[in-house]
Structure formats: structure tokens, C-alpha cells
Symmetry: none
Subunit: 241 residues, 2 copies
């Protein structure tokens, strides 16, 4: 079940919009807001959502984090730095795995832009999510934290996300076509003394064969290279210009 | 080796700053800019970088993508949507894995905010990176695309993998050497009318570039192919026999 994204005391409407956009990019649609600073709805959220209006329209507002996650079986609190907490700390990847395998509804809770979640907020969660980040430069904003969690969740999601090109690449040309190309090279190179001296000819042919075998060119590509060779075999002065 | 992040024709300084922040969060520091729309430095970048000044200060500006990736053995182009490309398409996770295991320097290339990379830019890359995203709402901004790639890379960077003691394969030649080979082909083919008719010339050049980019030839192989081309350019009757 897709996790609920809970923003606790978010400050800027723009960031709420960006979080919505980040969510929808990876198929998440359920946002809950705990006492947003500037009220709700917030006119700055829409433009920043860049079309993810459905997330904003369905967002619900809650008086407390406890109320916002009341129906959730699994509450994960995101924190930038580890504090003196005695809860399991997960990466976004591990959390996505846990959420995917969980029975019941999960929530991922994000704190205010500037300060992050308070200790009392974290106390409601069973686990902590911390993004492993450059220890010398931890500067992840709200929408970025949301997108990393949503992205990791989407990897597990049964949702039909666009998969990178299922469209298969053409297979390498059959060996006979490759041989034809290699033979074509050799036929042209032979009278141009490429295989001179003869003591090196075997090794040179082998090198050429290896180079031409490496690409795994498909039959279209082999055909194109045959055309290139035919052109190269012409004398420049034979040309139309 | 950490990948280089290349932003091609970025429009807003603010987005360059955000990309820098996203990079440094996950330990990436090398940014290259190809003809940023508003020049460089850009006063809007600093505030958006939120402290990632070191990335902006070290950023270099380049006149073309080819120049920006000239010293990179592995060029990955990010695209939002599938096009009719015949290159391997990786998720950020798969790309991070590939980059971590690669010999030599890798570049991840991002297009302008509004339009993404042009086909000619993608043609320089050996692989495509596409983030699997909600097919009904694909709205990933530049900094978000950068942060997902940087985040995935950082997962691998944290782990010190024991390098196998097997002699590694030579890495692909740096992009500049590949460009030299492509240029050599074009120089020979031009006067032989290969690019005729002119209406097809752009597409034909692109096809040739893609075919020659696919192999990932190392510098020895590229050198050998240059020798092959020099031989092919000779007239058969010039030969000793």
C-alpha cells in the first residue's frame, strides 16, 4: 500500500507544492498536513506543484501528528541527523522495503523546513529514516527528502511506472554478416598495403577482427558500415562535386 | 571515480545552484556547464546552492558538450522520455552501478530545464539514463534529476569494494580521441559524396556517430582504426605491389 506523506508544521506553501510534485512523480498521492504555518489552502502551493494539483486538492489538515497518523500502522519519522534515539534507523531504501512488505498503512513523516521534527514528533514513530548524506554538507530540503523516499518506494511499487525502454535493442548481426564486413575491410586494405610487412599480417588481421567484433553492431549498423567502406573505396575525384 | 555532472545550456542560475547543492549532498563536486544561457558566473546560483559554493567556484564553462566531456571515457545522457534511440537505457541505480565499476572517468549529462537534451547531444553518449517515473505525471526538474543520480551514486561510493586482481580491460578512449576518429571518417567521406544528398546529411552524420560511439573502443583500438582509415584513403596503385 502506498505510504501517506505527512508534513509537520510546513512553513512555505511553495515547499508543500514542491513536495506534492515530488510525490506524484513517483505515484504517491496522499498528503497530510499538520498545522501548516500559513494555513491551508495556500496560494503559493499550486504553482510550485507544477500540475500535481490532485495531491494538493486531496491533502487533509490535522491538528496534531498523532491525529494525522491515527489510522497508520507504521510510522516512519525522517531526520537529517541521528539524535540520541533508541529506534531502528533505516535508509530510504530499507524503509521502502519495509513499507512494501508491511501489513497495513504506512506513514512517512517530515518536519518543518528549518528545524526538522521535534523529539516529541519522533517519539510517535517506530522507526527513523535518515538519508545517508555527505557528513560535511548535509543540506537536504523538504522536497528533496520527500522525492528520495518516494523514489525508493516507487522501485518496489506494483504501480505501473514507466519502465526504461522495454523496447529491446536490435541484437548483434549474425556472424556471417560480421564476417562480410571484416572481409570487406580486408579486401580494401590488402591492396593498400595495410597488412605489410607480411610477418605481422596474421596479428594485424586478428587485431582488426577483434576491434570489429567488439561493438556488437546490429544488421543495420553493419550495413551502414558496408556503405561507408564502399564510399571510402571511391576516389575523391570520382565524386559529383 | 565520482562522475562529472554536465549541465547543457542551463537556463536559470537558480537551477545551477540547486544542482550544485544536490551534488554536494551526495559528495559530488565536479560540475561542468555548457554555454549557460545567462553566462557565468550567475549571481542567482550562489543563494540557491545553500552553501555548496565550492561546487560553483570549481565549475568550468565549455563551448560545446564535446569539449565538456573530452576527457571522459563514459558519457551517460539523461532523458525524460524514450525516443527512438538505439542505446542501452539505464535507471539511475543501474547507471550508478556501471559508473562505480567503470575504468576511467564518467560524465552524466543533463539538458536544459524546458526542453531536455537535443538528439545531437544524446548522440555523444554511449548510454541513456532515464528515471522510471509516473507515466501520467512526469515532471522532474533539473535539480531533482541530478539529486537522484547523485544519491544512487553515493550508495555505491560508501562501499569500498575489493577490486578483483584480474587485469582490467582498457577503458574506452577519452571522448576527444573518439571525436578525432569520427572527424577522420567524416573528412574522408565528405569528398567521396557519402553525405549526399545534403538533405540527409545531418541524419547520416548522426547515424555514423552513433555507430562509432557504440563500441567503446579503447585508445589503442581508436589508434588502429585511424591507421585503417589512413590506409583506406590511399589509392590502391600507391601500394608497393
Amino acid at each position: 500500500m502506498p505510504p501517506v506523506i505527512v508534513l509537520v508544521r510546513p512553513q512555505l506553501g511553495e515547499n508543500i507544492g514542491k513536495a506534492a510534485r515530488a510525490m506524484l512523480n513517483f505515484g504517491l498521492t496522499e498528503m497530510r498536513l499538520v498545522t501548516p504555518r500559513d494555513g491551508w489552502p495556500n496560494p503559493a502551493a499550486g504553482p510550485a506543484a507544477a500540475g500535481a494539483d490532485i495531491v494538493l486538492e486531496r491533502a487533509t489538515v490535522h491538528a496534531s501528528l498523532a491525529e494525522a497518523v491515527a489510522d497508520c500502522e507504521h510510522v516512519h519519522a525522517t531526520t537529517v541527523r541521528k539524535r540520541g534515539v533508541t529506534k531502528p534507523v533505516l535508509t530510504p531504501e530499507q524503509a521502502a522495503h519495509a513499507i512494501h512488505n508491511a501489513q497495513g498503512r504506512s506513514a512517512i513523516v517530515f518536519g518543518p523546513e528549518r528545524s526538522g521534527l521535534e523529539t516529541e514528533d519522533v517519539a510517535l514513530a517506530r522507526t527513523i529514516i535518515t538519508v545517508p548524506i555527505n557528513p560535511e554538507f548535509g543540506s537536504l530540503n523538504l522536497a528533496q527528502a520527500v522525492i528520495l523516499c518516494a523514489y525508493e518506494w516507487s522501485k518496489h511499487a506494483a504501480v505501473e511506472l514507466a519502465q526504461p525502454s522495454i523496447e529491446p535493442l536490435l541484437p548483434p548481426a549474425p556472424q556471417a554478416e560480421l564476417e562480410g564486413l571484416i572481409g570487406h575491410f580486408e579486401t580494401l586494405l590488402e591492396p593498400r598495403d595495410y597488412f605489410f610487412p607480411h610477418s605481422r599480417a596474421v596479428a594485424t588481421r586478428l587485431t582488426l577482427r577483434n576491434i570489429l567484433t567488439k561493438p556488437g553492431w546490429n544488421h543495420l549498423e553493419v550495413r551502414t558500415m558496408r556503405g561507408v567502406l564502399s564510399a571510402l573505396a571511391r576516389r575523391p575525384e570520382d565524386s559529383r562535386d
